[in-house]
Symmetry: C3
Subunit: 491 residues, 3 copies
């Protein structure tokens, strides 16, 4: 992260991040080129080590990670992801230490994740973490001296599942460019979907969302796809929820029936293009209070439509009822191959993070895909604006002392002002029309509106400033509005 925000870390972190330590928290922590590197290594493992009987399965393994230890910290139920990571580590010749039950861990004694990570990073060489809180993996990465891999954090992201998904698509379609992918089910709660759509967008895919009612993509994910990743999305026409024929490629503004004006894309072609894959997700019942909901079921009848004639059927598994078991023998079903690829893909990622390949590496690079674009605003603990996502790790009482509120400051395309994006869960806070963010000066007990200009201010000045959501919150925190003339001068 930018040097001038280093102070934000020094207040809560014991050690400086190691320059060679890469963390994979979001799929956007890897560039497209790095993703391709992971896939080349994974394909190499498959070529050299695959089981002669089952072509996409790793048999036995190598010894390149001999004496290395993977720590699996799973604060949420999992079989597949954990066993797949542990199998990958063993196939590399390494070993595992595992904490798989939250009720049986130090967390039961009230320990913070930050402390657990600081301690565990002395016991292992790489950590994989699964956690019910959005953004937990980012917090873990902040406090870890060894690479942290996100094995799923709340509804936020699940980047290694996406690597398996992309690797499966790549081996099926001989590439990843310009695909058309339908995504079905709980698009709101599924972290798998969120990592997946970012990656699809970055590889130029057109996305066709088929959400269960009320389970659309979260607003901030949708906006990022459109505004930052310039993603082509096929949306239903408003008020025609029942019709699946009225499809439009949408522009920046959701629910607006216009098309992008980029010259190189033939939108008629995009619309007529057949679906390359249908990605099905289960109802994430652990993230909803309701037990049941109307939910789309993908079966032979659904796939009978012409545009699905060559569509691969994908599912991150486990499935419940949303994907008919009768499809298991359909030639389009590739979900068990997706699961099988978990081992070579995770072997590749782990071995690259441990620097075990002479000719391939993940570049020295902290922050990933989105890194260079947005400065970070870090806030003193206990003051100012906080992440509006109640499930964000920064709102966990146990982490209060360790997870200072930090935000990417993102300029708005059209309007003045900016968006604050939580560094942990990546939820956006948008300044409301009637009440812009305001910057408060704790030393002088005053505040001034207008964060837009302040993000370019020198670091020394920022140390004294705290951003509030609006003037009312700044006044509630005991600050008085600054004189207008003074404020004009500060700009």
């Amino acid at each position: 992260m930018p040097d001038r925000f280093d102070w934000a870390y020094s207040t809560t972190l014991m050690t400086k991040p190691q320059p060679l330590t890469r963390h994979i928290v979001s799929i956007n922590d890897l560039t497209n080129k790095e993703i391709e590197t992971v896939f080349q290594v994974a394909a190499g493992f498959l070529r050299e080590l695959s089981d002669s009987k089952i072509p996409y399965r790793i048999g036995r393994g190598t010894a390149i990670a001999s004496k290395y230890i993977l720590a699996s910290l799973f604060y949420e139920p999992s079989t597949r992801t954990r066993l797949s990571f542990e199998s990958a580590m063993l196939r590399l010749g390494g070993a595992n230490i595992t904490s798989a039950d939250p009720a049986v861990s130090s967390a039961a004694k009230g320990e913070s994740l930050a402390d657990t990570i600081r301690v565990t990073s002395n016991y292992a060489d790489v950590i994989v973490i699964r956690h019910p809180r959005d953004g937990a993996a980012r917090l873990a990465a902040e406090y870890s001296q060894i690479p942290v891999i996100n094995g799923g954090d709340g509804s936020h992201e699940h980047p290694t599942q996406t690597l398996c998904d992309l690797f499966t698509l790549r081996s099926k379609n001989k590439g990843l460019k310009n695909m058309k992918i339908a995504i079905s089910g709980d698009l709101k709660g599924s972290r798998t979907i969120h990592s997946f759509v970012y990656a699809l967008a970055r590889f130029g895919a057109t996305i066709d969302p088929l959400p269960a009612p009320g389970m659309e993509l979260p607003t901030h994910v949708d906006r990022r796809l459109r505004e930052e990743f310039r993603c082509r999305m096929v949306s239903k026409a408003p008020n025609q929820a029942d019709s699946i024929d009225a499809l439009y490629v949408t522009a920046d503004q959701p629910h607006q029936l216009s098309l992008y004006s980029e010259p190189e894309i033939d939108y008629g072609l995009v619309l007529r293009k057949k679906i390359d894959a249908v990605y099905v997700t289960r109802f994430q019942k652990e993230r909803w209070t309701e037990k049941e909901r109307p939910y789309p079921k993908i079966d032979a009848k659904f796939l009978r439509e012409g545009k699905y004639s060559h569509a691969s059927v994908m599912h991150p598994l486990p499935r419940v009822n949303e994907l008919d078991a009768a499809l298991d023998n359909d030639r389009r079903a590739i979900y068990f191959r997706q699961a099988a690829y978990g081992v070579p893909v995770r072997m590749a990622l782990i071995s690259l993070l441990l620097h075990l390949h002479r000719n391939k590496s993940l570049h020295r690079f902290i922050g990933g895909f989105a890194e260079s674009r947005h400065p970070i605003y870090a806030q003193p603990i206990g003051r100012g604006v906080h992440c509006p996502n109640s499930n964000c790790i920064s709102n966990d009482p146990a982490e209060r002392q360790y997870a200072a509120n930090k935000f990417y400051v993102i300029p708005k395309n059209t309007k003045p002002g900016c968006i604050l994006r939580c560094l942990y869960c990546e939820t956006d806070i948008e300044a409301e029309a009637a009440a812009h963010f305001v910057a408060g000066d704790a030393t002088r007990k005053t505040f001034a509106p207008g964060i837009g200009v302040l993000v370019h201010a020198p670091a020394e000045k920022l140390r004294h400033l705290t951003i509030y959501r609006n003037e009312a919150e700044a006044e509630a925190a005991g600050l008085a509005p600054r004189d207008r003339r003074k404020r004009a001068g500060a700009g």
Copy 2:
């Protein structure tokens, strides 16, 4: 299984079973000769690797299974069995991945066992499974590409415990032939007992059941022992439940005080023969709704009777109160040696299933001891007769799409008609006197009674037929009785 029933698998299984993949679900999946092979390999490990201080304990180990992975999938509490398997795998030089808590696994998300197995078989080279449902291990074997070992499924079987028991008896008694074994306690709920008595019967033992009241051997186990394994059993005279002196060797018909007429056996001798071992089991409280029950306790007083003077005292452990701790120093107590043998015996089984021995192997052979005798009837999902055992995996809602009802069709010795034996839990359904099984033809919407002849019909014909428990159930499913003359012609 017979070729003509292959279609039954193609409807639910993604891949064909690998011909070299053996599964050990029942002790009857191993021939007597194969059991002897397992014991020779186990004895070899003991000879080469035993700890110098404690003669029946493996010290350190070999590296023959280096780079192989055992997946332990335990859906029920266990320390001993799981740790013993994992120790065996480590002593072979292999590694383990473990899912030991049902509440922390994908099962908590509602995933079917069939899916879990299909995925896990990409992560490991051999699977051991423990599950609360009878027949779960057979279902797992159907969906696995790698060998599945049953580590205990409901009240059904626990074959590796039986291998340890037999190995202990064999090393104590210099052989397994013609022993006389008393079995005490919960003979109904104890899967250990079920595997054990099948094996004893096959090695010619006489069995003396000492059940807790109401915990007799299940009817189908008892019948198999008598009718299929021609087992000599010592039974109490009816109406003399309190007397332990009135003992009889029973014939085919239970509760009938006659003797076998086989010429080579001197039944007086059998009755006078001393007991070689008393096998004690705990009250399987997790399989009963009552918390307490009158239960036999084996202690020094019980063993004072003359016929027990040389009886080894065995117990699969854990014990609660049914076996007095004061016996621990009795020279007849061999239960801790039984537990110790868990490691070499399981090492032998795993290494044989992985084909790691040059001169020893388990033959290429699917279906085990009972294989050649009975054809299989496999039924379309959602139609026809189903297993009457409510704890059978085929009655688990989560497996409904994966566990098609399948039955061994077993002719009756004396009467016309047949028995249907569930392929999973091996519970029998007997045609009732007044209402025989009937075969329904879904295409023609008719049914015809008399399954006996149909089991010899060609496979093409069977594809259209569904067996119902009786005429009433066929009619309830919307079928009409076929014309009598036509029916006669079909036979």
Copy 3:
């Protein structure tokens, strides 16, 4: 233990303890010289294997424990201790088998710890156990054929944590002699504290207790420190609980404002000496019925006092609120280093117990520091005096048949009579003034008061005697007082 008490073991133990098998249940099982041996080996590992980037962290490892297995039996929540042991075993080249959830183990079926240990000691080469009952690790050691390490038993002891603590102090202070250590928080419930203060006392430290109200050191720990270890403790003057200035070095009798009269110690110097370390512990809420209590918090303000200017801040972790996160960057904070040292220190202990070092070893020696001083009185099961600590493993119904009441018989310094110290949890029973222990003779149905003389009686005589807490209890057990003249003659 003394030969004449061997019979006590033969009644409950199947095998004799292996002479080369050492168990580390209490820190007092190691002599000071042996502790130094552990530290030399640990320092060697750190020198040879430490990660180049982080000096107190082990990177990768050796292969000296190749093919050895550590069994982790954790009956209580833990991440840190278990993962640290397992990491240590892996860094040595060994492997692990783990049972980490009491609800998922054989204990859920009602198995005794004694049985679990006898079985598990066939599966591994060394055991680490954590258990909620005081004294459980000692019981485990009695029944194990392989070394048992106490990973924390109830409120009793946690010796390997103490080894890490001492190793941290030693590397910080270039030695362990004559330190002055403040201990803060739950001194009653914290097993870590109990092991730590014994070790401190043995290395000549002065201890400054800062208990939370009502959480003072247990009486028997306090007495042992003063009477057996001749520990210098700084105590608050009575009735001045609020003042932290009124400090005194106390003598044998607690709450008495006198000083030791040992000539070689300058008590003024002791009192003026600055604190070398503040050892902070969390509220052990799992050992108290109350959820909250007034509790001291160590923060920058507390440490501002002059005597703490060079005090290292230590914590066994996990912490909750008793240690301010703002201290993490304070140069005096060494708690994360303490945690990091868990790996090399445990590597040293495990490898020494497995005899893997050619030039270093733990002497052949059972019973540790306190061994030679006190004879053991072992009692027939179901009779006589029992441990007054209801959380002692000897009072666990599941262990009743396996944990015979056994006591160290400890003479009193000043008065006639003696103390009985439970062999498991080390809680003391003191004869009350008005009712001395009495020795009952089951054969003759009589009892005689006066245990003091009996402890020197020959073993044959002791076999017939049972000690009762007082005459009333002996009479309640059906014994009659012996004739006074006879009694005089017996002495």
